[in-house]
């Protein structure tokens, strides 16, 4: 009896020890996991802070009174947080240069370019992806081949052409060269190829025209790809700097990027004013991005993988 209980208690003790050991192992694992988590969040946090800090500095400076940009006397948080709200910088920016016009010009150019590029790309991509015609593969190869030619090569002749046509310093000069894109055509064609053919065949039997198929079947099925191309073109045109700089001369016709550069050339040291102007350029694009983020991420994956 005594022996029996002895054995029993020993078994119990062993079992208990085992449970304890497992518990300790689990605790160690959990601790390691927590440590790892802290490490990962530390990396992510440092990354996030260094990304945001310059923007915060921009916002804070844009709200400071001119002439009080930096001083060693202040405490560090007074330097970083927007504690003063001198909105007049934003108002003054509009007095120095026609910012309102820059906005309107930018919006006009961006809308025209994006609409033209997406429309012509989609039409051509449908022909390349679905229709048979003599010379299709040769023409498509020419499209792909030009994709690797840097913009610098075509820039000079296009400038000469526009100058010959008398289009320098017009909105056309900014819009038309960017309204046709081999890249956009390529991207949409790759997407159209992945769409199932059955629907089109059924529509064809019902006597639907090619335009009908394109409008009623292809386009509705391709919304994600169209949204991606739209977002990319929109962002690219909004930020486009070199080409507008080359072809535009009249300040009133400037888009925001070259307008802002002109603004800087006039008031290179009024940092509060410059930061207010920069804020006004960055802010709309941040809004667009927050709403269109999904298309962006998908688009990068799509184009990145397809090469």
């Amino acid at each position: 009896m005594v022996i029996h209980t002895n054995i029993q208690s020993r078994e119990q003790a062993e079992a208990q020890a085992k449970v304890l050991a497992v518990k300790q192992l689990k605790r160690q694992q959990r601790q390691r996991q927590i440590l790892k988590k802290i490490g990962v969040y530390l990396v992510l946090g440092i990354g996030a802070v260094s990304m945001i800090a310059p923007f915060l500095w921009m916002l804070t400076t844009s709200l400071k009174e001119p002439g009080s940009v930096y001083s060693f006397q202040r405490r560090w948080w007074e330097e970083w947080l927007p504690l003063s709200f001198y909105w007049k910088n934003y108002v003054n920016a509009f007095y120095v240069v026609p910012f309102g016009l820059f906005y309107l010009n930018s919006i006009f150019v961006v809308l025209c370019t994006t609409a033209c590029q997406v429309a012509t790309s989609a039409l051509a991509a449908y022909a390349f992806a679905r229709l048979h015609f003599p010379g299709r593969d040769k023409i498509f190869f020419a499209y792909i081949a030009t994709m690797m030619i840097p913009g610098a090569v075509t820039m000079i002749p296009v400038f000469i052409l526009l100058r010959y046509l008398g289009w320098i310093d017009t909105y056309r000069a900014m819009i038309l060269p960017a309204a046709f894109s081999a890249y956009g055509t390529f991207m949409l064609r790759q997407f159209f190829l992945t769409l199932p053919k059955d629907l089109e065949d059924a529509a064809k039997i019902d006597g639907c025209s090619y335009l009908g198929i394109f409008w009623r079947i292809i386009l509705p099925l391709s919304k994600p790809a169209l949204a991606t191309l739209t977002t990319f073109t929109f962002m690219g045109t909004w930020m486009s700097f070199m080409w507008p700089l080359i072809v535009m001369n009249t300040h009133k016709k400037f888009t925001l990027p070259i307008g802002l550069a002109y603004f800087k050339s006039l008031h290179g040291t009024d940092w509060t004013l410059l930061m207010a102007g920069s804020m006004m350029m960055v802010f709309p694009i941040l809004l667009v991005f927050i709403f269109c983020q999904r298309f962006f991420v998908e688009g990068i994956k799509l184009t990145g993988i397809k090469g």
Partner: protein, 302 residues
């Protein structure tokens, strides 16, 4: 007979669909490519008379121009940002791939510099690098003050030894959380789970798992990013240099594309500028070939 008719109908429809894009393609891309090639064998200042044929003289002059090689050096030097930024992108992607809370938040924040890049950001960084009021040198001084030292940051954009590092730092900030990080994140999510399980059975620790499984699995992405960044790098450098340094000091931030801009649109040496563009194309073509040889087996364009 009927099928012949429907083929014609299809051909006509196809040309109709293609026409708007094809016209634009001809006028603004393919003919200009040809024109630019011809132009590169001529001398033309756009104002006085027609272009005059000079054969290969533009190219000979360009390749014999020490300044051109200096600008090439600047362009390549600025590409030092690429490996650093790529390593940073990978670290951030690895951290984001841990399936923690707040992924979308962090991804959005990291993308902010990429999305808002452009003139506003270059003006902001001109201010950050300002030796008197800029935040960078202020931080360096304060950091030195804490250590009991008197540290002075360099005069970033006005010092020919510091102007390029300044542009590199800004470029890393801009690109580290952008496209490359998202490509890396997608690649990491595509690594098969069982490879990690197998490595774990073999007793591999995190570091070993990374080098034995993750790194080889994502190497196609690394290669793709590297080649695309290099191709982009050769064409880069105009916008930031124009806004921040004007190509200086002592031309230390003048890149190939900046040189081309000056020759074409400042001095109106159209033929010579076209020659620069074609040399640039040749360099890019070499790197594109490398990429095609690598991807040719897996990507089908037809």
């Amino acid at each position: 007979m009927k099928s012949l008719k429907s083929t014609t109908r299809e051909t006509v429809a196809a040309y109709g669909f293609l026409l708007p894009n094809f016209l634009g393609f001809m006028i603004f891309t393919s003919l200009p490519v040809l024109a630019s090639f011809l132009l590169s064998f001529t001398k033309w200042d756009l104002l006085s008379g027609p272009p005059s044929f000079v054969a290969l003289r533009n190219y000979i002059q360009l390749l014999g121009e020490p300044k051109f090689w200096f600008y090439c050096w600047n362009t390549i030097y600025l590409m030092l940002a690429i490996p650093v930024s790529m390593a940073g992108s990978l670290v951030l992607a690895l951290a984001l791939n841990q399936k923690l809370k707040g992924l979308v938040f962090f991804r959005t924040v990291y993308f902010l510099p990429t999305i808002s890049s452009g003139v506003a950001i270059y003006i902001l960084w001109t201010f950050i690098y300002n030796p008197d009021f800029g935040m960078l040198n202020a931080m360096i001084s304060k950091f030195g003050f804490l250590l009991g030292l008197e540290l002075h940051g360099p005069n970033w954009l006005h010092d020919k030894d510091w102007s390029k590092p300044a542009l590199i730092i800004m470029n890393i900030w801009q690109t580290v959380g952008g496209y490359n990080m998202i490509l890396y994140l997608a690649a990491l999510q595509g690594v098969p789970r069982d490879l990690y399980d197998a490595a774990e059975v073999d007793g591999a620790n995190g570091w070993q798992k990374f080098w034995a499984v993750t790194w080889p699995q994502i190497s196609p992405t690394t290669f793709f990013i590297a080649i695309m960044s290099i191709i982009g790098g050769f064409q880069a450098g105009f916008d930031p240099a124009y806004i921040m340094t004007g190509g200086g000091p002592e031309e230390s931030t003048t890149t190939i594309i900046y040189y081309l801009y000056n020759e074409a649109f400042k001095w109106h040496h159209m033929g010579y500028a076209a020659a620069i563009a074609w040399v640039l194309f040749l360099i890019i073509y070499l790197f594109t070939l490398m990429q095609w040889r690598f991807y040719g087996k897996t990507v089908h364009y037809y």
